[in-house]
């Protein structure tokens, strides 16, 4: 009765082995193949090709965090517009109404954030 589970067990073992193997293998491979020829310019942080100004470890205002979070949300929700845009002729009025509802719900979220003052910097 347990026979059918053996493939499952094997799969689990493989999964564990892959996870363990990868972490060990990457560090080993890196140790073997990496070159060590650092020079001051090479170890400089890359900042769009400019000479960096100041350290990279400055503290950012936590307000950026909120902006980033909201950006992710509204940015990703726009993904639904693409498939709709491709077939909107085929979907007709029903599709338009549905998309209007969807954007309406997003707009409600936007209005909520606005009224709560999430977009005010101070």
């Amino acid at each position: 009765m347990l026979n059918p589970y053996i493939p499952v067990l094997i799969l689990m073992a493989v999964a564990v082995a892959v996870a363990a193997g990868m972490s060990v293998a990457t560090s080993l491979i890196a140790r073997i193949f990496r070159l060590r020829r650092p020079n001051p310019i090479k170890s400089q942080p890359y900042e769009c090709g400019m000479t960096p100004i100041g350290g990279a470890r400055v503290r950012f205002s936590v307000k950026f965090y909120l902006v980033a979070m909201l950006f992710i949300l509204f940015d990703v929700e726009a993904i639904f517009l693409y498939p709709w845009a491709v077939v909107h002729r085929h979907l007709g009025w029903l599709g338009l109404v549905e998309m209007g509802l969807f954007i309406g719900i997003l707009a409600a979220g936007y209005l909520y954030l606005w009224k709560r003052g999430a977009f005010e910097w101070d």
Binding site: N3, P4, Y5, P7, V8, L11, L94, A108, L111, K115
Partner: protein
């Protein structure tokens, strides 16, 4: 795909709850000074309205799925939606006083409660794995926020983070399981999966399908808090605001089991496959009952005690799930037992939390069980109600908990299930559970009361009082006249089984 007005009518309870959540969110944002009590009343009104719309489907809804098979507005959906609406309604009643006392009454709380209920209702109605996933996430994400609702309390924040990290981890397993089932069946529609899994004789030995089912079990197991996926439960229940704990303990469980039973009863029809999955579920059920009940004995904090008790109850309900899976002749019996238990659990657990929410001492919540000394005489009504809920949770006749357990045992005792040891475990662990439930009652009545300024205070406003009364009424009525609900539950369960049969034709 066409959407007819009829489809909209069929999902109208869902729409009302979701729209009301959005409206409350906006009202509170636009007029921040509005009384939160009014918002709670508005939310309650909406829940009652949604319940009235849903009651039309009682007890036999419409069996044909709507919206391209995404939503099934059958009696099963109606039952769980009503349980969820009742759970959310009573929780809202319980929370207003608590939130005002705590100084954290914001409109978002009510909106989040409605969104959670909406997520649960979507899960209960889902006829498609995408919909199950979306419902689960709407429910879970709202609950993460509710757990961390008290932004200044470290415990609440810690609970939210733990709940979130473990919940998201479990969701990922759940999703991977769905992907594997999709790979096996070539569809995410429950009926199509049933046709694929029922046609091939090899379903019971297909590694893709078995791994997928196993991962689905992990996801559902986490949501309804069964051992070994229960680690988060006591911490989150203890840390979250007490009103949110009351809410999540009943709503997450009801919604989780609703989708759990529907998916496993419909999508995997092969008797061989069910037999095997049933064996796995049975061992989880046994583990859950044993661990939940033994750990509850050791608790001194009432919220942690109720957390472990909720784990134990999830174990009992799993016995019903086993009966569904391993009894091909009459799976409806198991389904109806699960339905009845979920309803009874909603009333008695909310009632127990209601009493906890009513008690204070020197501006703090009264959470240590030892501090309940003398409450039975100081507040006779509250003491009597707490005793009622504790006895019902323990399964003492003639309360709701007794009949709920009785029906579970009856469903699991069928010789076809062949799991007498599971029933024995259920009975023995119930005996253990008497110890810790009765301990609360004995502390209330047998220990001398603390006098003076240290003495606990009870306050129940109109909202909390109504919620308490409703929970008590439900617990007593289900205990005194269980026949009506049980009959409806049986009809609903037969409807679900019929639906499963139709899928295969």
């Amino acid at each position: 795909m066409q959407i007819t007005p009829r489809d909209i009518w069929n999902i109208s309870p869902h729409l009302v709850v979701a729209a009301l959540g959005l409206i409350i969110l906006l009202i509170d944002a636009i007029w921040p000074r509005i009384s939160k009590r009014q918002l709670a009343n508005l939310a309650l009104l909406g829940l009652i309205g949604a319940g009235a719309l849903q009651a039309r489907f009682w007890p036999r809804g419409q069996v044909t799925p709507v919206l391209g098979g995404m939503i099934v507005p059958d009696g099963y959906t109606a039952f769980f939606n009503l349980v969820l609406l009742v759970g959310a309604g009573i929780s809202l009643l319980l929370s207003t006083d608590y939130l005002e006392w705590d100084g954290s009454a914001h409109g978002e709380y009510h909106a989040l409660v409605l969104f959670t209920a909406f997520g649960g209702m979507v899960m209960a109605a889902a006829g498609h794995l995408i919909v199950v996933f979306l419902g689960l996430e709407i429910l879970s994400i709202s609950l993460y926020i509710l757990a961390g609702y008290q932004r200044e309390r470290r415990e609440s924040q810690e609970a939210a983070l733990k709940y979130f990290l473990l919940g998201a981890f479990a969701s990922a397993f759940f999703l991977y399981g769905m992907a594997l089932v999709y790979g096996y069946a070539g569809s995410l529609d429950l009926h199509a999966i049933a046709r694929a899994a029922g046609a091939g004789q090899g379903a019971a030995a297909n590694q893709l399908l078995l791994t997928g089912i196993g991962l689905l079990l992990v996801g559902f197991g986490f949501k309804v808090a069964v051992v070994p996926f229960h680690i988060w439960t006591p911490d989150v229940y203890e840390g979250a605001p007490t009103s949110a704990t009351a809410f999540m303990s009943v709503v997450a469980k009801a919604a989780g089991f609703a989708a759990f039973v529907r998916v496993f009863a419909l999508a995997f029809p092969g008797a061989d496959l069910r037999h095997q999955v049933g064996a796995v579920v049975a061992s989880i059920a046994m583990l859950t009952m044993v661990v939940g009940n033994t750990a509850a004995v050791l608790q001194t904090n009432i919220k942690r005690l109720l957390a472990y008790s909720s784990i134990a109850h999830a174990g009992y309900i799993l016995v019903g799930v086993v009966a569904v899976l391993r009894n091909p002749a009459a799976p409806a019996e198991g389904v109806s037992a699960v339905l009845f238990y979920t309803l009874a659990y909603t009333f008695m657990n909310l009632g127990a939390f209601a009493v906890v929410l009513a008690l204070r001492r020197r501006g703090e919540e009264l959470l240590n069980i030892e501090e309940y000394a003398g409450l039975g005489f100081r507040y006779p009504w509250l003491g009597a109600l707490m005793a009622l809920f504790m006895l019902s949770l323990a399964g003492m006749p003639p309360t709701a908990g007794f009949f709920a357990k009785l029906y579970l045992i009856r469903a699991a005792l069928s010789p076809l299930v062949g799991m007498w040891w599971l029933v024995i475990t259920l009975a023995l662990t119930s005996v253990v559970s008497f110890y810790y439930y009765i301990r609360v009652v004995t502390v209330m009545y047998m220990r001398p009361a603390v006098e003076g300024e240290q003495a606990p205070q009870a306050s129940a406003g109109p909202h909390l009082g109504t919620g308490l009364a409703l929970a008590a009424l439900g617990t007593i009525l289900l205990g005194l006249i269980p026949a009506g609900i049980l009959q409806a539950a049986q009809q609903i369960a037969e409807g679900l089984v019929e639906l499963g049969g139709m899928a295969l034709r």
